[in-house]
Symmetry: C2
Subunit: 211 residues, 2 copies
């Protein structure tokens, strides 16, 4: 169980997909699962699945299948997803609002505990039990609740300013949805999700395919 470092990011992402799938099977009452079950539903080549798991050590016995509970717990522990992680959504626009309610986060123990905006019409409202707070109070909230993760859904031209405030308050990881590249100090983790870039790049590929 020692091969933990230098795991490719694509392996990490697929492993999270495995965990989410296993969680859903567990809900259905499944106790033991074969790698064939996992790979056939997720459309992952079996060799890919075995290779991904091998980064984390040895699991299950050949021909017996995996104990679903143990596999979920072990994978979560190895990825640091075994304890609940608190996160906030910054910017309660359409995307921010959808993210507050996104069910996939809870499957990996990420709990959204608050949303923030500067629009007085939104402040004080709540989305499925999650309150929208005044962005002016975000620093206090982050410190008080020891939040380490922020989902940044503010407009492009305020993304860097808001990111600076988040980091000052103690945020260590940002999932950025604004189409700008953020300058961040060392030690801060960032992932960028830009839906327009994703769709634009498939349109470009489509154009190349047609020609």
């Amino acid at each position: 169980m020692a091969k933990k470092h230098n795991i490719p990011v694509e392996t990490i992402k697929r492993t999270i997909t495995y965990i989410r799938y296993l969680e859903r099977e567990k809900q259905k009452g499944v106790k033991i699962i074969s790698s064939r079950d996992i790979t056939s539903l997720l459309n992952i080549p079996p060799a890919q699945f075995r290779k991904d798991l091998s980064f984390f050590g040895e699991f299950g016995k050949r021909g017996v299948g995996y104990n679903v509970d143990i596999l979920i717990e072990t994978l979560k522990q190895l990825l640091g997803l075994d304890r609940k992680v608190k996160a906030i959504v910054v910017g309660a626009g359409r995307l921010g609002t959808a993210l507050v309610q996104y069910p996939g986060f809870l499957e990996i123990n990420v709990e959204i505990i608050g949303a923030f905006d500067n629009d007085s019409k939104k402040i004080g409202q709540s989305i499925k039990g999650i309150d929208i707070y005044d962005i002016k109070n975000i620093k206090k909230f982050i410190i008080k609740n020891n939040v380490k993760i922020a989902l940044l859904c503010v407009p492009s031209d305020s993304a860097q300013i808001v990111a600076n405030i988040l980091i000052e308050a103690g945020i260590k990881s940002i999932l950025n949805f604004a189409p700008v590249v953020l300058i961040l100090p060392e030690g801060i983790n960032i992932a960028n999700v830009d839906m327009a870039s994703e769709i634009g790049s498939i349109i470009y590929r489509m154009k190349e395919t047609v020609q």
Copy 2:
């Protein structure tokens, strides 16, 4: 202007970010822009910007800056984003609903012309002028409107079945938000966006940083 092939996907994605930024500057009335202006707001190293543009050919004159209109139009043309592209959202849940209204798509000429769901409470409603149709009629709609792009926001366990229907009807590109790997015939373009995987992978990196 001939170096069009084998452009790295990251260059494509950044170029789309440039286009979106330029569109916003154009709205503000900006006619001429320097590469310094572009790179400083987007936090892109100037060398990166020049390298990205070099994949597409020669632009602007040193010291004079770029004509905003011409730069936008040329980049869009090179990426196949100069004509309006019609897209549909499949699955009008929270994420699907947010995507229907996502302003970044229009900046790159992607127009969402309809949303589809199988929930009778949603069918017949509309989101900001975009109608939600019965998924039973999706094939007819795709053919009639010559839609080539679908944003797939249905639950994991129906994603593959729905994808098959989309492709049968003529869809060539899918932006998949379901946390499954879709099996697709050759010539179909796919990009996967899984928010939980993105956030899970930064939590893993955060854990590694702390230890």
